[in-house]
């Protein structure tokens, strides 16, 4: 199969002599800071040729930063990188590629408007003097596609016309075509069918036999058990432990992945003798392949958490509830009456009164150049109108209410007429929340609202959520922080692969249960999701 690799590279065992005893790839004391946030903290890591090395960790444990550094996308703040014992520095992905390190990213690195063949032979196409030999390129693409078992894909097809699972296989073919000596797979099987996954396993085992070093990032425990020779666990930007396959049980691995103290203070949860009346009832909601028969209820005055790993459909669920997605099937009932909103405008209407605090406040939540006052009033303008059938804004009434909300949320702003862009992240998030408080929403959906904001503001937000709930608001709260699920939520639904796999309540809401449910592995203490949620 060597003929499939880029012509500039020797076989996979090229200069074995110079490698001697040093591991193929080493990272020494690697630290990466983004502003004040430490993504990786003094990490030592090594990867040997001829092994599949699994990297495990929660969201934000530092896995993606680790592979981005190896792939040359991110340069470390401190520390040394060694390739076969020699120190290297990567200015960009090209440098890492040239060194034989090829990464298959979770967000596909394919070019949608180009053909499959163009993509597979992107940087080193066959040809002479900088010109591409299309026939040779096509032959190489066909051979590589055949190797990954996708001979049915026409190399002339545009990538954007392929389904996601095929695209992922093209991505793998592209990586193989670069003749890697270290291959990094970041959740590379997340969109594949079972048959494709088997093919990929077979290819990876072949490559291991050929002496490649393979770094495998996956959240699927069974994949890791099946494939990995070595596992490394990361937590909070630190390398916790590396152990050989089978040296640790599933439970021990989950404990290694969690192992942190509570740092946040949460308001007390109310005792709930009986289930509250449902405010939001979702029945068998589906959307394409991204949402599969999601059913849940949120009662009046209840905070229901949405958990699970990133990208298991939580975001899509909130968007579907808020009327952003087209072609959603299933039923949504508000206060027991059917009422599927067809647009965000319908969702916030008097009949439904729903609010969505979006994930990305800068693009979906705020109008950055406009004033704090304009931002806060944006969703509720229609509630403050007067004259001629309500075409003018009653500034006085509106401003009085804005001042009230600014006080209630303790938004630190000198002048409410100044642009919202000048505020800190925490205060910006408060403005987004204030905007929706103005609509007096009965149902509030939150998409990871505390991401990237300071601890103090986080605690104020927890307090506010509980106050709103006590006043009868139904809250559906998606967060990537497990602490928040435990501290804030009356019930927690864990999503996996577009569906809800478990519902936790009461004392069952703990880290072990959340993490194991998120990984979709059974633990004895976890009861299956109640069929008829109350």
């Amino acid at each position: 199969m060597n003929d499939l690799r880029a012509p500039t590279r020797q076989g996979v065992l090229g200069d074995e002599a110079s490698g001697a005893a040093a591991p193929y790839w080493q990272m020494h004391g690697i630290t990466k800071r983004y502003g004040g946030v430490v993504a990786l903290d003094g990490v030592d890591f090594a990867c040997e040729p001829g092994e599949i090395h699994a990297v495990l960790g929660e969201n934000g444990a530092g896995k993606s930063t680790l592979i981005k550094i190896a792939a040359g996308v991110v340069t470390p703040t401190e520390g040394r990188l060694l390739l076969q014992g020699r120190e290297v520095r990567f200015a960009g992905p090209q440098d890492a590629n040239a060194a034989g390190i090829v990464c298959i990213f979770q967000e596909l690195s394919l070019l949608p408007d180009l053909t499959v063949a163009d993509n597979i032979c992107m940087t080193a196409p066959p040809g002479r003097w900088g010109f591409i030999n299309h026939r040779a390129q096509r032959r190489r693409a066909e051979a590589l596609l055949a190797r990954v078992g996708c001979a049915d894909v026409n190399p002339l097809e545009l990538v954007k016309n392929l389904p996601l699972s095929r695209r992922q296989m093209v991505e793998i073919a592209k990586a193989l075509g670069r003749g890697p000596r270290m291959l990094i797979l970041d959740e590379a099987t997340s969109a594949l069918t079972a048959a494709d996954v088997d093919k990929v396993y077979g290819i990876l085992r072949d490559l291991r036999r050929d002496g490649l070093a393979i770094l495998y990032i996956s959240h699927r425990m069974h994949e890791i058990k099946e494939l990995a020779d070595t596992c490394s666990v990361f937590r909070n930007g630190r390398h916790i432990e590396t152990f050989a396959k089978g040296a640790r049980s599933d439970n021990e691995i989950v404990h290694l992945m969690i192992g942190r103290e509570y740092t946040q203070v949460y308001p007390a949860k109310p005792a709930r003798p009986a289930a509250p009346a449902p405010a939001l009832t979702v029945d068998k909601l589906s959307w394409g392949h991204r949402l599969n028969n999601v059913s849940l209820t949120v009662g009046k005055g209840e905070i229901v958490g949405l958990g699970g790993l990133d990208g298991q459909g939580q975001r899509e669920l909130l968007l579907a509830l808020f009327g952003v997605l087209r072609g959603v099937t299933g039923e949504i009932a508000i206060d027991g009456k059917p009422g599927k909103p067809g647009s965000p405008r319908a969702a916030k209407s008097e009949r439904i009164r729903m609010a969505l605090i979006p994930e990305d406040r800068k693009s979906e939540g705020l109008l950055l150049p406009m004033s704090v006052r304009d931002n806060i009033s944006m969703a509720s303008i229609t509630r403050f109108t007067q004259g001629l059938g309500g075409i003018f804004i009653d500034r006085e009434r509106q401003n009085a209410r804005i001042d009230e909300v600014v006080r209630q949320l303790a938004i630190k702003v000198g002048d409410t007429e100044s642009p919202v862009a000048n505020l800190s992240g925490g205060n910006q998030q408060k403005v987004v929340i204030a905007k929706w408080l103005m609509t007096e929403a009965r149902i509030i959906l939150l998409n990871d609202p505390t991401r990237g904001i300071d601890v103090g503001t986080k605690q104020e937000i927890y307090q506010l959520l509980r106050e709103l709930a006590d006043a009868g608001t139904a809250i559906l709260f998606y967060t990537t922080d497990y602490d928040e699920l435990i501290g804030c939520c009356d019930r927690v639904s864990i999503m996996y692969d577009g569906g809800i796999v478990r519902e936790l309540r009461g004392s069952d809401i703990n880290e072990e249960n959340i993490v194991s449910s998120a990984l979709n592995i059974a633990m004895e203490s976890v009861p299956p999701a109640a069929e008829t949620a109350t």
């Binding site: 394919l110 070019l111 180009l114 163009d118 900088g130 010109f131 087209r326």
Partner: protein, 328 residues
């Protein structure tokens, strides 16, 4: 090539094929209603007018493919016209040297655009708006009043026919396609331009030399605009620093690119389509003439054709399932 391959190729060059068909229809209509019919002089006149816009539209295509826009192509066109009207005359050696300088000046103007966009990280639209004004200023300095001269034998040859049948300007256009466009499209750098326009992030992650591709696109755009400026000098026998000409050609070049099936988002399309887009815009003019309609109607028809072309490209909106993606 199998039937399936052929089907794919047709589907992928839909925009180009539609442009060719529309042009063929319009041109047939024009010729069949022309009092003289299809004669060499009629064809030559039509070609000379169309090739100018076709070259400028080819120039515009390259920055658009990378996801940018070049608002200075018309001004480079005018500037090189003024330069050619002072340099391309005298003995054959002087003429040849003059042509080389004119083309280099065009390429340099494009290179400056590219360098500012790539290394200055400025937005292409505002960059080229500014440099376009600069290039127009240079044109005014070169030629404060219309005038100048160009080697007459060469100009005659370039605006008449080869072996009395084929308009020389069409041969020039074909040569540009064969010697510049097709090699570029089949080069690693050229494909880099498509990659950058398709998804800059993914291109970078794939190890594409993003900066070099962008720079090449703008430089080549300058060169093509320079060729057009030279051709304009042959057609008019003089140079004129005319802001209306520069502005009109810039805007029509964008229209021609879109009508020819190139996406303004970048990444898809090509210069051949833009040539036919330019031909279509030019033929509107001629059609109004043969049907005795007032030429004042020309902008209206151009606008309708442009709207029609853009609507074809906007059909994707109906397939979007996440409304947030409508705004991206």
């Amino acid at each position: 090539m199998t039937a399936a391959d052929l089907k794919l190729r047709i589907a992928q060059s839909q925009g180009l094929l539609i442009a060719i068909a529309v042009f063929a229809l319009m041109f047939t209509l024009y010729i069949s209603n022309h009092p003289a019919g299809l004669t060499v002089p009629v064809l030559t006149t039509a070609a000379n007018k169309a090739v100018l816009l076709a070259l400028v539209a080819m120039a515009q295509t390259l920055p658009v493919l990378t996801g940018g826009l070049d608002l200075s192509v018309g001004m480079v066109f005018v500037m090189t016209n003024c330069l050619a009207s002072t340099l391309v005359s005298g003995n054959p050696l002087e003429v040849a040297a003059g042509i080389v300088v004119v083309l280099l000046a065009g390429a340099l103007a494009g290179f400056v655009n590219g360098a500012i966009v790539v290394y200055g990280r400025l937005q292409p639209i505002i960059t080229t708006l500014a440099t376009g004004a600069v290039y127009y200023g240079i044109a005014l300095l070169l030629r404060p009043v219309p005038g100048g001269d160009v080697q007459e034998d060469l100009a005659d040859f370039m605006t008449y026919t080869v072996v009395e049948v084929v308009p020389t300007s069409l041969v020039l256009l074909l040569a540009v396609v064969l010697l510049i466009w097709l090699p570029f499209r089949n080069s690693v750098v050229g494909r880099g331009c498509y990659a950058v326009g398709s998804s800059e992030g993914a291109a970078y992650m794939s190890g594409v030399t993003v900066d070099r591709s962008r720079l090449a696109a703008y430089t080549l755009a300058g060169l093509l605009a320079g060729i057009a400026g030279l051709m304009l000098t042959f057609v008019t026998f003089s140079g004129e620093a005319s802001a209306p000409i520069g502005g009109t050609y810039t805007l029509n070049s964008i229209a021609a690119v879109v009508i020819g099936g190139t996406s303004l988002y970048g990444g898809a399309g090509g210069a051949i389509g833009s040539i036919f887009g330019a031909f279509i815009l030019r033929t509107i003019d001629d059609l109004l003439f043969v049907f005795d309609l007032p030429p004042l109607w020309q902008p209206l028809f151009q606008g309708v054709v442009l709207l029609g072309a853009v609507s074809l490209g906007a059909a994707r909106v109906f397939r979007i399932k996440n409304r947030l993606e409508l705004f991206n």
